[in-house]
Symmetry: C2
Subunit: 226 residues, 2 copies
């Protein structure tokens, strides 16, 4: 068995940004006269706007049109960009990535965000070790399509089945399973731990601190023995 | 069997304010140099600050002191009060309360919020039918202590065991069960539906729209037959 690679989601997994995304979408929708409940917006985070907005708009009794989707996406991005300054790394993120670099275990970051937003979010993790970063700009379909994770596996020179995917949302679990990776879920995006498990997560941890302490459960040898 | 009374929680049950509470606490904590993950703050919403802050501060490696708790509570309130203008009623809230008024089924609102904040939140539900409203100002202990719900049952002239409690958080379920009410949970606060069920909810619905359509499951006769 070769050394597995690890592919990390960004929002809600490495940085604490899911609630800012909820607030940005909620405000963008309200500004366009659409009153969507925040818990329903929350459950869609991790997908791109053009994937979840059509159903959300239909449920709220609004017609979907390409110009409206575009307007809402721009309104979200404007608001989220202002909120990025409140985004901080999630507990254990930096320590885990540094530990993987030391061992070494190859890892990459794959996110549904665009290149510009991703660059700003990664800037919030001071001291982030270098690694391949795949953004929505490089693929035709965002999660739950497996394209982002497949590209990341390739960048790590790993077969997709050799990889662990680490993410916080149902969409990460579904996308990772479609490429036959083992998906480890963390609860730091505020998603239902039971639902993550039921979606087929290989293992669910509270956060990256718990994951770091549990690398043995995933088959990684203790760091000191290397 | 007498006609049951229904006691509603406010935040996350009748109005879509849980995510604003998360943002207000997150910002209040950051302003005091405390970086708490938002999903952990989310899970504490529904309790009063003085109940959840000591554990949260300890987990983040900060000492708890009465002045710090007071400062954080005031910082939260200042921020939340600004955010109230983005708070809107949750889908089905107004329709359900109006239907109960018509039948008539006696109902009350019981919230961990203080009187001033509650008045402003209730003002966001335009056309709210009159009913008893119990706030944290009237009890010594907020949820998960049963005091608020017990006071509400008394105001409805019902024995606590004759009441349904409707809430969105684990703390509503625990408080309602302590007074031996049947607790109906809704998922509109963004809480884990499985965890609400496991905490002992009598029934879990997506939102008040689904609850309204399911009153027969709770033993209320169809409205038209009355």
């Amino acid at each position: 068995m070769r050394q597995p690679g690890i592919i990390f989601d960004l929002d809600g997994t490495l940085v604490d940004s899911v609630y800012q995304h909820v607030a940005a979408w909620h405000s963008a929708l309200l500004a366009n006269g659409i009153a969507a409940a925040q818990w329903r917006i929350h459950r869609a985070i991790g997908m791109s706007g053009r994937l979840f907005l059509p159903k959300l708009l239909k449920d709220e009794g609004h017609c979907t049109s390409k110009p409206l989707i575009g307007r809402l996406e721009r309104a979200h991005d404007d608001r989220f960009n202002v909120m990025i300054r409140q985004v901080i790394p999630l507990p254990g993120a930096l320590q885990l990535l540094r530990q993987l670099k030391r061992r070494p275990v190859p890892f990459a970051i794959a996110t549904s965000g665009d290149a510009k937003q991703t660059k700003r979010l990664l800037g919030r993790i001071v001291g982030l070790p270098s690694c391949p970063v795949i953004t929505a700009n490089e693929v035709a379909s965002a999660k739950p399509a497996p394209d982002l994770f497949e590209l990341a596996a390739g960048r790590l020179q790993k077969d997709p089945t050799e990889c662990f995917v680490v993410g916080d949302s149902i969409w990460d679990v579904l996308a990772g399973r479609r490429m036959k990776a083992s998906v480890v879920a963390v609860r730091t995006g505020g998603f239902d731990g039971h639902e993550l498990q039921e979606s087929g997560a290989y293992r669910v941890y509270a956060d990256l601190l718990e994951l770091s302490e549990s690398l043995g459960q995933l088959g990684f040898p203790p760091e000191s023995s290397k």
